[in-house]
Symmetry: C3
Subunit: 265 residues, 3 copies
């Protein structure tokens, strides 16, 4: 297997080489770790939610990530302008529908963004994906109470109805365009005990779809990178504080060919 | 002493077992460490300050924490709806009156929340507690310039007038319902050189009053956990950066029976 | 050379002794690390952007730092009140024009703040400084695409037109009042792979101009401290996650006389 023929190695190299500028409208909990994760993998973060500059900022960015974790009326306005601008300019963008199902405004904002501005990727946990696919579940905030394997059909349905790649994280991650379903079995339970890990998966996905050739493949490679970095970090962690530090260290130093051999599907 | 008869061990076990969903309206400085601290002790954090979803979010939460650290008009609206909803639904909630005394809007917002929505616990430093108790002091932002021991009478008076348990942090923490005064002498000076440690004490208090049986005891146990984790972290710290990491590691791995033996009053 | 005669040692001691209260209107990405960096060097942070309390908060602070990283209409209002109050009260203040040139609202807000409220120090990267000096460049978000050495003339021109000390960071930092140009060659490439390092330089600058005697010298000493702490942290770092931790550890434990010997100009 040559370096260039492996899609994971190729996408990681593309992120480092192109250093895509990823514009993030993300929640306040996640901003620091999201910016550091993007810098670690070789991308450039830009955080802004000011409606007045949304068109200019999206115009210079390579990809957009909209995370509805800390939404309010003012931010929703910024999110909608940003997403519409990305769609109009043909720039790839990721929707992270944090807490969809936990409140009407979260569910409705997610559905509005999907309907009006067609995200390239919808990345969430099983309860969020099932909520957006129209399944009746009860959400417990941002946690997932549904096993991913039960939700694969919902993910496929949402991919078909929205036209987006759906990337659903859990003990096994499912990434689907509605027809093909890819899986990533990497990861570690400690990852769910650090805040904003899902949000970080979304911004890494943004970097990969900006630099990669194929959205489905790039979204899958982003989840593989997250999962393996989490496994490696957990080996050295003495708790969840050092887990976060080692995770960022991994993202900033990993060897793509080494990681490629660790992918489990 | 059996495990079940020790209130500290019992409350720690209850937090881990029940994993209470703690809704935090906290300041932007504290959001990351607060979410990670809650996850570390076994609780589930949910951060939102959007007025439109406050009633739904409080409805699914086990406890609410309102921290006025980064207040503005819009957030004050969300705080008031959240606190009123918690009071109406009988859910326990913690007020952290950050910087009360430093500006009129901080003092007034704190007093409004206490009068209208009756917090279960008011957790602050001595200058904040004395301000809310009506004592004349000059505040120097979020620092405390008053020794806790001088402020115990103010804490008791505030507990009686508000009906809340008052948890006042300092070199010695005082926790009182106006009649009984409990003390915790654990802690380390390095803790005051990490931002948002007081805010973290408030969210941990939120988790403990959600899972514990008695508010006064639970508030005291939360402060004991904070103090001992700080002492243990300081033993391994090489500065304030590693202090923060070791502190979260401690919260995520501590042995309740071991910590119970380290409580100093 | 006696301790008191070295300006770096003298300024570091002054920060630790006076513990200036630094009021920061900073972006949400930077808030945590900025507060921890200020605490580490011995200063006291206070974060607030609430227009209603701006005059009171600036009144009790020793210095103000305005960082436009996450601006919106509401925050711009708070920034302008805070800067005007600092100017009126004769308190030193630092402007960090994050992303000036990336959008019209960022450029215009920076120019308004300079014209109306006369910052003591403008601290930015080369692309931001050149934008404010009126040079035509294309900005790529918050990154700098211009070598600092090419921009020294722009920095001098901006210092003269604004009356501020201009502190321009890059592989070599240039600090100028328009006549004298000081340089600091310390630093490490890993620093640019951690988010909010520029913002951190700005708040450290705020602490130093609050405690030091001379603005130009204090601004230069702040950059020296940043650069040397970064070099020392990089020696021990295993990636960008541990780099950030070691950097804060350095700021909280450094020996001024040791660092003074490491300054490269």
């Amino acid at each position: 297997m040559s370096t260039s023929s492996d899609p994971f190695i190729r996408d990681c190299a593309a992120v480092r080489e192109k250093s895509p500028l990823v514009h993030c409208i993300t929640n306040y909990v996640a901003m620091g770790i999201n910016a550091n994760a993007l810098l670690a993998v070789g991308a450039s973060p830009l955080m802004s939610f000011c409606p007045e500059e949304m068109e200019e900022i999206v115009g210079i960015a390579s990809a957009l990530v909209v995370n509805i974790g800390c939404l309010d009326r003012h931010e929703i306005e910024g999110m909608k302008i940003a997403a519409a601008t990305a769609h109009r300019l043909g720039k790839p963008w990721v929707l992270d529908p944090v807490g969809a199902g936990a409140s009407r405004i979260r569910t409705q904002t997610s559905l509005d963004l999907i309907r009006d501005s067609h995200p390239s990727v919808i990345r969430g946990n099983a309860s969020e994906i099932m909520c957006l696919a129209g399944e009746q579940i009860t959400s417990r905030g941002v946690d997932t109470s549904v096993l991913s394997s039960d939700a694969v059909e919902a993910a496929k349905a949402l991919a078909i109805s929205s036209g987006a790649v759906v990337s659903m994280s859990g003990p096994v991650d499912y990434i689907t365009d509605g027809t093909t379903v890819l899986t990533i079995a990497n990861g570690h339970p400690l990852m769910s005990r650090i805040t904003a890990m899902g949000c970080t998966a979304s911004v890494i996905t943004g970097a990969f779809i900006a630099a990669g050739e194929d959205t489905l493949t790039a979204a899958r490679n982003a989840m593989a990178l997250m999962g393996i970095a989490g496994e490696r970090a957990a080996e050295r962690a003495s708790g969840t504080g050092s887990m976060e530090m080692h995770f960022i260290d991994e993202l900033s130093t990993f060897e793509p060919s080494d990681y490629a051999r660790s992918i489990r599907i």
